[in-house]
Symmetry: C2
Subunit: 338 residues, 2 copies
C-alpha cells in the first residue's frame, strides 16, 4: 500500500466504528458533533462529507503493525485519537475565538459556546469509553495512555492561554506548550496501536518518541502557516491569524526574545484592540528578521530527521518503515510560502 491507500484504509476502518460510537450520544450533543465533523449542516441536513485527512488514525494503525499486530487490532485506539483530536478542535476554537475551520463556521459560532464545549467534552469521554470497551487485553494500558495524553493537552492549552496576556515568555515555555498541547496527541497516536496489540516496551517507547518528534514538526509547520500561510493552505483563515491572535507560537516566541527587535514586537502586541493589516505585515517582517522563521523551519526539519532516525532503530519491514517516513515528512514546511 502507498500512503494515500493507507489513509484511505484508515478511514474505511474508522468510519463505521465512529458512527457506532457516536450513536450513544444524546440527540442534542450529536447535532453539534455531526456539524463539527462536516457530516451535517447547522439544520441537521446531511451534507457531502469533507473528511479529515485521518493522519492520526493512520498512525495508530501503523503503530499496531509496527508492534507486530494488524490494523484491526487498533480500531479503538484510532477512534480514541480521532475523538481526542476533535475534542481539542472544538474547545480550542472557543478559546481562541476562531470563527472558521475547514472553510465553515466553527461549532461555537453556530450553536453557542456552551454547546460546543459540552460536545467536545463528550468526545473526550467517548475516547476513553471506546478504549475501556475494547477487546484488547492491553486496553487498560491504552486507557492510561489516553488519559495521560488528555491531561497533558489540558496543561498545554492552559499554559497557551496564559501567553495571551503576557509577552515575556521564553522559547522554552513555548516549546513546553507545544510538546504538551499538540505533540502529546501525536505521541499517543503513534504508540497506542502498539500498546493495544501487546508490543514490548522498547517498541512502544520508540514509537512514542517518533510521535513526539513528528508532533513538534507538525506544530512548527502549523506555526509557520499561522504567520505566512495563504488562506488556501489554512482553511480560509486570514493571513497572519496567529499574529492577530497574539499567540505564543514558536516563531513568535523566538522573535519576542530577540535582544534588538523583541521590544518592537512586544510594543505591537501590547496595543489595545485588533491589529491593522500593516501591523500584521510589520510583525511578520520582524519575526523573519529575528530569525524566528528560520529557527522554526530548521526545528521542523530536525524533528523529522530525529523521528526518522528513531523509527530506523526498530526492525520493521521496508514498506512499514517507508510509511512512517512518509507520514513524518508531512511535517516538513516545504510548502509554506515566502
Amino acid at each position: 500500500m502507498n500512503l494515500p491507500e493507507i489513509l484511505g484504509e484508515a478511514r474505511t476502518l474508522v468510519t463505521p466504528a465512529m458512527t457506532d460510537a457516536l450513536s450513544r450520544l444524546s440527540p442534542e450533543i450529536r447535532r453539534v458533533v455531526d456539524y463539527h465533523m462536516g457530516w451535517r449542516d447547522a439544520d441537521g441536513r446531511p451534507v457531502q462529507r469533507r473528511g479529515s485527512k485521518s493522519v492520526r488514525p493512520a498512525l495508530a494503525f501503523l503503530s499496531a503493525q509496527a508492534g507486530g499486530g494488524e490494523f484491526r487490532g487498533a480500531v479503538s485506539g484510532a477512534l480514541a485519537v480521532e475523538f481526542l483530536n476533535n475534542w481539542a478542535f472544538l474547545i480550542d476554537d472557543v478559546m481562541d475565538r476562531d470563527r472558521f475551520r475547514r472553510q465553515r463556521e466553527t461549532a461555537w459560532v453556530v450553536f453557542g459556546e456552551g454547546q460546543a464545549i459540552c460536545a467536545g467534552t463528550a468526545l473526550l469521554t467517548l475516547a476513553q469509553q471506546v478504549l475501556l470497551e475494547s477487546d484488547s487485553p492491553m486496553r487498560f494500558k491504552a486507557l492510561d495512555l489516553a488519559m495521560d495524553t488528555s491531561a497533558r493537552m489540558l496543561a498545554g492549552q492552559t499554559l497557551d492561554m496564559t501567553f495571551e496576556r503576557r509577552f515575556d515568555y521564553t522559547v522554552a515555555e513555548s516549546m513546553t506548550m507545544t510538546q504538551s498541547k499538540t505533540a502529546s496527541l501525536m505521541r499517543c497516536a503513534t504508540s497506542i496501536g502498539a500498546v493495544l496489540v501487546g508490543a514490548d516496551d522498547r517498541t512502544v517507547d520508540t514509537l512514542a518518541d517518533f510521535g513526539q518528534c513528528v508532533g513538534v514538526a507538525f506544530q512548527a509547520r502549523d506555526d509557520m502557516l499561522g504567520i505566512w500561510g495563504t488562506p488556501d493552505q489554512t482553511g480560509g483563515r486570514p493571513r497572519g491569524f496567529d499574529i492577530k491572535a497574539r499567540k505564543g507560537t514558536l516563531p513568535i516566541a523566538v522573535a519576542l526574545n530577540d535582544e534588538t527587535r523583541g521590544d518592537d514586537l512586544r510594543k505591537l502586541f501590547g496595543q489595545e484592540g485588533e491589529l491593522a493589516d500593516w501591523q500584521v505585515e510589520r510583525a511578520s517582517e520582524l519575526i523573519t528578521a529575528t530569525g524566528g522563521r528560520e529557527w522554526t523551519e530548521s526545528l521542523a526539519r530536525r524533528m523529522v530527521a530525529q523521528a526518522t532516525a528513531a523509527i530506523s532503530e526498530l526492525d520493521l519491514p521496508d514498506d512499514v518503515r517507508d510509511h512512517f517516513h512518509q507520514l513524518a515528512a508531512m511535517g516538513l514546511p516545504d510548502d509554506v510560502s515566502r
Copy 2:
C-alpha cells in the same frame, strides 16, 4: 457515628488523597483549582478553608459499608465523585454566567472562561485517573460507572442549555434533564463504593436507585431555592436567580405548562434583557399559583420516601441504614422560606 461525624470522617479520608491527586496538575491549572476549592485566593495565598459539606464523598463511603466493605475501600470512588462534582460546578458557572458561588467570585470571573473550563476538564480526567489507579480489583467497573456518569451529566447539561432559548419544553423534558444532569452523579456516589468493594449486583443496583431518588430530591430542593431561597441559603445569590436566568427547572416547567397562566410566564421570559425585580416577583407568584411550588415540594418528599424504602430492602446494620436515611432527609425542602 452520627451524621456530622460521618461527614467529618469523609473529609478526613478524602482531603489528603485529594491533595495528593491534585499535585499532578500543572501549576497553571492548579492555581485555578485551588482557588475554586476555596483553599487559596486569586493571588495564590492560602486562605482559611471553607470546606464543602462532603455529602457525596460520605455517600461513597457509606456505599462501601453497605456493600460489606470499609470506608477506606472507597477512597478512590469518593475522590472521583468529588472531582466530578467540582468539574460540573466549574463548567456550569461559565455556562450559566453565575458570578458567585459559596460567597466568592466564581473561577471564570477571576481567571477567565478558558482557564475555568480547562481546570474543570482536568478534574474530570483526574476523576478517571484515580479510579484506574485504584487497587480495587473492581476498579474497571467503577471506572465504567464514572464514565457513564460523566456522559449523562454532559447530555443533561446540553439539554439544559437548549431550554434557555425556548420556553416550550415539557415537565418530562425538565425531569429528564434533572435525572441526567444532577441525579446521575448522586447515583454514582451511592453505588461506586459498593462496586469498589465487590458487592453483588442487587446491592449495587438498590444503592444506585437510592442515589437516583435522592439526587432528584436534592435538585427539586435546589430548584425551590433558586426561586424562593434567601441569599443566606444560596451562597449570596440574589433571590429568584433561576428566574433571572430563565432556567428550565422543575417548578418553572410546571408553570410554563399551565393552561391558564403558562402564557403569562412565557411572555415574561420572552422579553429582551434582564428582568426587573418586580418581574421576578411576579414570575415567582405565577409559579406558586400554578402549583409549581407545591408540585416540586411534593416530588422531593416522594423521592426521599422512595429512597428510604429502597434502602430498607437491603439487610443493613441499623446505624448504617440510619445514616442513609439522614442523608436522604437532607433533600427535604423544609427550610425553604415562603
